[in-house]
């Protein structure tokens, strides 16, 4: 039993890697080779697809836009969530439970429902086609998520910490920034990771709220696929490059992944 135990995770990981391998494989092929023959690895290894992406601003700007709104969103979401999560974890106040539940219901709202109203809303306030529109729109689901995760971490910190600090003469803002935030850095890391993740992978809203100037890389890809015919190699290379930020982030938080999920509380 224990001898064949490794088999299932191994098969699963191979299954996960196959499409990724195929994407990388294609990204190193020329369009001719892709369409001409079926080859398991590139016969004429080429970096042309990547060269195109790194030299053409309409491509690499897509990356910069995506990174920009993802970072802005993560920072904003965590910053506003911190005091709110503290309030939920420490105090009772009028309507606290209903408020918490209402926040979570926003995680259940299909982005498709919000696409059109968002276009109108962000056009009306003049933010349409800016990274700010996407960063703010993604707060719809990321802020509730960050509040939820941080509340979990904060409830794990004993209340005595707060009380001791007040007795020692700390004011609330000084206590919060000097003592409390440093004790929950792991929680902030996990919350930021999840905000990054959900903002980075979402496309429906990101695409709807941008047209030219702030278009995310993922949307650039979709456009290429339809407008310039089947430039599969280029598409594959662009796709392969979108794996990198995710891979880097995972590597940094690899020791926290299990812990972050372990918060399993609703």
């Amino acid at each position: 039993m224990s001898r064949i135990k490794w088999l299932l995770p191994t098969i699963y990981i191979v299954f996960l890697m196959l499409p990724i391998y195929w994407l990388l494989n294609m990204s190193f092929k020329s369009t001719n080779e892709i369409l001409g023959s079926f080859t398991l690895w590139p016969q004429n290894f080429t970096l042309d697809n990547y060269k195109t992406i790194f030299t053409n601003p309409s491509w690499y700007n897509g990356y910069l836009n995506s990174i920009a709104y993802v970072v802005v969103n993560s920072v904003v979401a965590v910053l506003v969530a911190l005091p709110a999560a503290y309030a939920f974890s420490r105090y009772r106040f009028l309507g606290d439970k209903h408020l918490f539940f209402w926040l979570l219901t926003n995680r259940m709202a299909p982005p498709a429902v919000f696409a059109l109203p968002f276009i109108q809303l962000y056009s009306a306030i003049g933010l349409f086609d800016t990274i700010w529109a996407v960063a703010l729109a993604h707060c719809l689901f990321n802020v509730p998520l960050a509040v939820w995760i941080l509340e979990g971490f904060m409830s794990g910190v004993p209340k005595e910490l707060d009380e001791t600090a007040y007795i020692d003469g700390y004011s609330f803002p000084r206590f919060f920034t000097r003592i409390f935030i440093p004790t929950i850095t792991a929680g902030i890391g996990v919350a930021a990771f999840f905000c990054f993740m959900f903002s980075w992978v979402e496309l429906l809203l990101a695409k709807s709220l941008t047209s030219v100037a702030a278009k995310p890389i993922a949307a650039t890809m979709t456009k290429t696929a339809s407008s310039s015919g089947y430039e599969l190699g280029l598409l594959a290379a662009a796709g392969a490059l979108t794996l990198i930020p995710g891979a880097i982030v995972i590597w940094f938080v690899r020791n926290y992944i299990a812990k972050g999920f372990a918060l399993g509380r609703v």
Binding site: M1, L8, P9, Y12, F15, L16, M17, L18, P19, W22, L23, M26, F38, V76, A81, P83, A84, A87, R90, Y91, R92, F93, D96, L99, R107, M108, P110, P111, A112, V113, L116, F118, Q120, L136, L140, V143, M197, W200, V201, E202, A218, A219, M221, T222, L232, L235, T242, L243, P245, G246, A247, I250, R254, I257, K259, G260, F261, A262, G264, V266
Partner: protein, 287 residues
């Protein structure tokens, strides 16, 4: 924790969150409700229509069909991903270098933009030049996901399993790691079988994380849009047109704002209702 103190000033601390989320949720939702009750022929002229659009949507075959496809899809992926995810988590190593390797490799699909997931599977499954499509065809299967509904469904489901099973694995793995060694040792002393250990120790301790896993997978698969849209475009025909794809077609493609808004509200309510019923049902014995 019953030791929380009553402090109405805490409202000031949650105010930024409330404003930000309300801005994003309440105003658009009002717009949707507004549209759902009115008819427009352009030029921002609206007529009050009452519940007409709701009746129309609730009686439309198109909505029934999309809802049916959506429910079937969600049910199938839940039936595959939850048991598979738990099985993989159970078989994963508990210590050593294998742990970070598994966690990192398994998390990878979760951080790929959703349309890239669609595009990746699109090229992977192409009958002539994709690894999966070519292999299946040379094995004698007549596989073409752009033409045959069954193939389109199978590919969409395989893609979702590929994309999301890791979430279940990570949740279940975290739940399993939280079980103290004492429990396994006591079970061995008590002479419990492997099945008993799973049934009486691991499964009860996984209940909370599995509830979350099922809820998240239910919600997200019920809202699925980008991946099947890029992979199959909702086709062949309408066979993989799920609720979100249908909704976007109606709202942004045909600009049928009234019915689209009514459908949005029904859609949102269905998700809320199912989540709420499921959650209260599974948690009824919790303190």
């Amino acid at each position: 924790m019953s030791t929380k103190t009553v402090n109405q000033k805490a409202w000031f601390m949650v105010l930024p969150v409330v404003l930000l989320v309300a801005f994003n949720a309440v105003i658009p939702l009002m717009t949707v409700v507004n549209y759902s009750l009115q008819e427009t022929f352009g030029d921002n002229v609206f007529f009050y229509e009452g519940l007409t659009w709701f009746e129309q949507v609730l009686h439309s075959e198109r909505f029934h069909a999309a809802l049916g496809r959506q429910a079937a899809f969600t049910l199938i992926i839940l039936l595959i991903e939850i048991p598979l995810g738990v099985a993989i988590a159970l078989a994963m190593p508990r210590k050593g270098i294998g742990v970070p390797v598994c966690l990192v490799l398994m998390s990878l699909p979760l951080l790929i933009p959703w349309n890239v997931v669609g595009a990746m599977w699109n090229i992977f499954a192409l009958p002539e030049i994709g690894l999966l499509g070519k292999t299946l065809n040379s094995l004698g299967f007549d596989y073409n996901y752009t033409r045959q509904p069954f193939d389109a469904w199978a590919t969409t489901i395989a893609m979702d399993v590929w994309h999301w099973t890791s979430l279940v694995v990570l949740l279940a793995y975290a739940g399993l790691s939280a079980i103290p060694d004492d429990f396994y040792q006591a079970a061995r002393i008590d002479g419990a079988s492997r099945w008993s250990v799973f049934r009486y120790i691991q499964l009860p301790k996984l209940k909370r994380v599995l509830t979350i896993a099922i809820l998240l997978r239910f919600m997200d698969s019920f809202m699925i849009y980008t991946e099947p849209f890029v992979l199959t475009g909702g086709g062949p025909g309408n066979t993989t047109t799920f609720l979100s794809i249908d909704l976007v077609k109606m709202a942004l493609g045909q600009f049928d704002l009234g019915p689209a808004a009514a459908m949005s509200i029904i859609y949102f309510l269905v998700i809320l209702l199912v989540s709420w019923v499921f959650y209260t049902y599974t948690m009824r014995h919790e303190d």
